[in-house]
Subunit: 505 residues, 2 copies
């Protein structure tokens, strides 16, 4: 590579690094707003976030960025770049194309619509009044259809939206995968429901918040979460956030009369955090220094939450300790009853409160609706009816009103279509990855039972975390498991676990 | 004003607002680093702060800024600007001139020297080895002399440095003021020392940190600190920081065996915070939205710490409550003994541990040395000797080594010359402002005794806080007190308080 090009590559990387720095500052402000920023400073802080975000957006679509992309994309030049620069270029190019193809006026109008729609949605949900939200949702869908027109699509219009969150995943793949999953969960759920619900009342007694926190910290430590690279704080809607690999923060919520929120929530967010703490140092300062997709990220949180946190061995190991933290709550509850209670399966209306088996069905309902909307097979005005029919069909429950039905999630009000499938993909990935992990660590069950989780974390870091966005989700999956997306492992997990728990045979 | 000029004014204010937004983000990162940011993320976070700071610096010296300054400074244009725009322009022009007059290469060299010098100073202080630090200090002084050459000066070279922290204050004023203060404190201190030291041992018992925090929160609330616009956190070197008027955070430090650190420290920082919480809304988004100078800021913290927090009436009101928070620590200590103990006066070596009466002498030592350095009357190599002589002369104590002498403060290692006088000015201002306050609130003593501090806070906000940088320090002083800098009120405060406390007559 010539001297000039070397210096262009260097300038480009510096330019991109500056964007990651701005994003880190934005990330800290976001974390702060959600963990105790004083109320009266919020509106001013939101303006500051707006200023910095506008700057990053401007940088991502600037003439300077265009010049870098053009110069470095010439194939003889591209071939001579380092792997990290190549992937970085691919990332920023994707953003550049997406952001510049929409006419500026239209994008501005859309941003205003998004923020209006979100506040209207809040009100509509509170009043359970879909009609109020309907015209906004119609416009949001309309805008996204037009954007797909600008962006182009392959095979199915909805693919373009899916690609934003889960590159490589298409309607063709999801139709087959989700149909299979749905068709196997629905009858299993039927059987489980008929088998009767285990005792759960003892879960809902007072468990001091301070003690929930101590137990959460203990578990995070055991998972391999590095407290010199993170901290645990309280919030309303828990999340994990990677500011840089040395500063990955977990948040949780303590509900006094339901310890599950904090414990399983912390394990879940801890799973996300391990991903961000164990990214390769070589990616620092590039947009590659984060999880490769929403779905793979979710596979990590769900792996820990369900395959570790809801594992029988985990509680063989921790139950005595939990009892101590809890005081007298579980004095008359044996381990088996406890284990059954925290794995109760029960069809319900609200996605974020669903158990692990019914959860994918909630997601599939949304997938089918979104796909229908973008293929002109479903109209927005019919959503409440269609929603309720699908819930009845797959889960056997029917919302009494739209606030516990079609209005329950914030996503659509912000124009996020194509995001929901990632949640179910995370489950499917997690089960596939677990299968591969067990090939390398055949004593996985024993490790969990001993609380020796370090080898598990290390395996995940080595096979998934370190790569960040250097590998696409499907590449990760193929490299680690030797196959593509396959729901069979998740189905088998459900069938084996719940057949045994509910003695179905 | 023409349409074009109106739009230039608007663009200029937007440009400046963006700088304040960047500074707010930097401020939050600074706060976070000092209140619990994970250790391993610090070096990366420092780079982010560096990136944003460089951006703000670039904006403050850009061609765009130059154009605004030139266009808006034309006198016919300037006269038509709003008062806020005028003062904003004055501020940014001062920065622009200061930052652009130094050749870029020289400034870069200086920045590198600063950071080296600071780490060398740390090591030198630890080893008590002035010779190690001397060449760096010499270079720092040399650079600043050259800068004064670029910047120009009036009357005395040191005035240019003073002006950075306390505009309007000159060597002429300080020579007279500090000499008077020194010549009255020194003999008073002599008498106090001869009168014998009150009992203080009971101060140094264990006072649970959690309880210190509760008492601190209680006092902050009483002072009128708005917790919806702020929060109290723990740190190593306490500070207050105004991110915006709705987000002004206080930090403190809890020393189990010396409750005074947290209590008086919190009141002190709370005084700074009240200033920042009560700035006029009209100044938001401009560089005027902060305290007008280091000295006036310090006058607010010292007013609260000493004239309220060390007031007899304050403890008449709070002592019973403090005893409850403390457990049994003060069971056998009557109010009078307690009051005497927290007002103990004792010459000592370390400035930041000094009592209110000896504190100004520590500052005067530094002032005289700095003035001598910049007028070529003192050489860096002679500093340890001169320092020790002055300490002996004014305070009657002599450092055993340079780490408790000339090496004790960080300021010089960062090239901050001209800063120290602000600390003593804060005391003098505070006493003058108190005199004016009592003219409007003649029942000040009773208000403190009743814990009815709202009128005090409101008076300070109305007369000082709201103006931010709209008024210069000397303007504030003149408008509020009707006179210029005058140390008599502080001297009288010391003489009356300590004559009575130590029964000197």
């Amino acid at each position: 590579m010539s001297q000039t090009l070397q210096s262009v590559e260097k300038e480009f990387l510096n330019y991109v690094k500056k964007m990651t720095h701005m994003n880190e500052a934005i990330g800290l402000m976001y974390w702060d707003l959600r963990t105790g920023a004083p109320k009266k400073g919020v509106s001013q802080r939101s303006e500051v976030i707006g200023t910095l975000s506008a700057d990053v957006f401007a940088m991502s679509t600037s003439d300077e960025m265009k010049k870098y992309i053009e110069e470095l994309s010439v194939s003889s030049v591209y071939d001579s770049l380092s792997e990290v620069t190549k992937k970085t270029l691919d990332e920023v190019k994707k953003d550049y194309d997406r952001n510049t193809k929409i006419p500026a006026d239209e994008f501005k109008e859309y941003v205003i619509l998004q923020s209006k729609a979100e506040s209207i949605w809040e009100e509509a949900r509170a009043k359970s009044d879909f009609a109020m939200f309907q015209p906004y949702l119609e416009k949001l869908v309309e805008f996204n259809k037009r954007f797909i027109g600008y962006w182009g699509y392959e095979g199915n219009k909805y693919n373009t939206l899916l690609d934003m969150y889960e590159p490589g995943v298409t309607v063709e793949i999801l139709d087959e995968t989700f149909a299979k999953l749905r068709d196997r969960i629905v009858p299993l759920l039927q059987k489980v429901t008929e088998a009767g619900k285990p005792e759960t009342a003892f879960l809902f007694e007072a468990f001091p918040k301070e003690k929930q926190k101590e137990f959460s910290l203990h578990v995070l430590k055991e998972m391999g979460y590095d407290f010199e690279s993170g901290r645990l704080d309280e919030t309303v809607h828990p999340f994990a956030i990677g500011l840089n690999t040395g500063d990955v923060r977990v948040t949780t919520r303590y509900v006094e009369k339901d310890f599950r929120t904090a414990i399983f929530g912390t394990i879940h967010e801890g799973g996300h955090a391990l991903y961000e703490q164990n990214l390769s140092e070589a990616l620092v300062g590039t947009p590659l220094s984060t999880g490769t997709s929403m779905g793979i990220h979710e596979s990590q949180s769900l792996f820990w939450e369900n395959f570790v946190g809801r594992h029988q061995g985990f509680w063989n190991h921790h139950y005595a300790s939990l009892k101590q933290y809890a005081g007298s709550q579980f004095d008359n509850v044996d381990l088996e009853s406890f284990y059954k209670a925290i794995n109760v399966v029960e069809p319900s209306l609200i996605r974020i409160e669903a158990d692990e088996m019914t959860y994918p069905l909630h997601v599939i309902v949304r997938y089918e609706i979104e796909k229908g909307l973008f293929n002109d097979e479903i109209e927005v005005k019919d959503l409440p009816r269609i929603w309720n029919e699908k819930m009845q069909g797959y889960l056997g429950v029917k919302p009494e009103n739209d606030s516990e039905g079609v209005l329950q999630d914030v996503h659509w009000s912000g124009g996020s279509f194509g995001y929901f499938p990632s949640y179910a993909l995370g489950y499917i990935y997690a089960a596939q990855l677990k299968e591969a992990l067990i090939r390398d660590l055949p004593d996985f069950d024993q490790l969990v039972e001993k609380g020796d989780l370090k080898p598990v974390q290390e395996w995940l870091s080595k096979n998934i975390h370190q790569y960040g966005k250097m590998k696409k989700p499907m590449e990760i999956l193929q490299d680690v498991t030797g196959e593509g997306l396959n729901p069979d492992y998740l189905i088998r997990y459900f069938e084996e676990k719940y057949s045994s728990l509910y003695q179905l045979n």
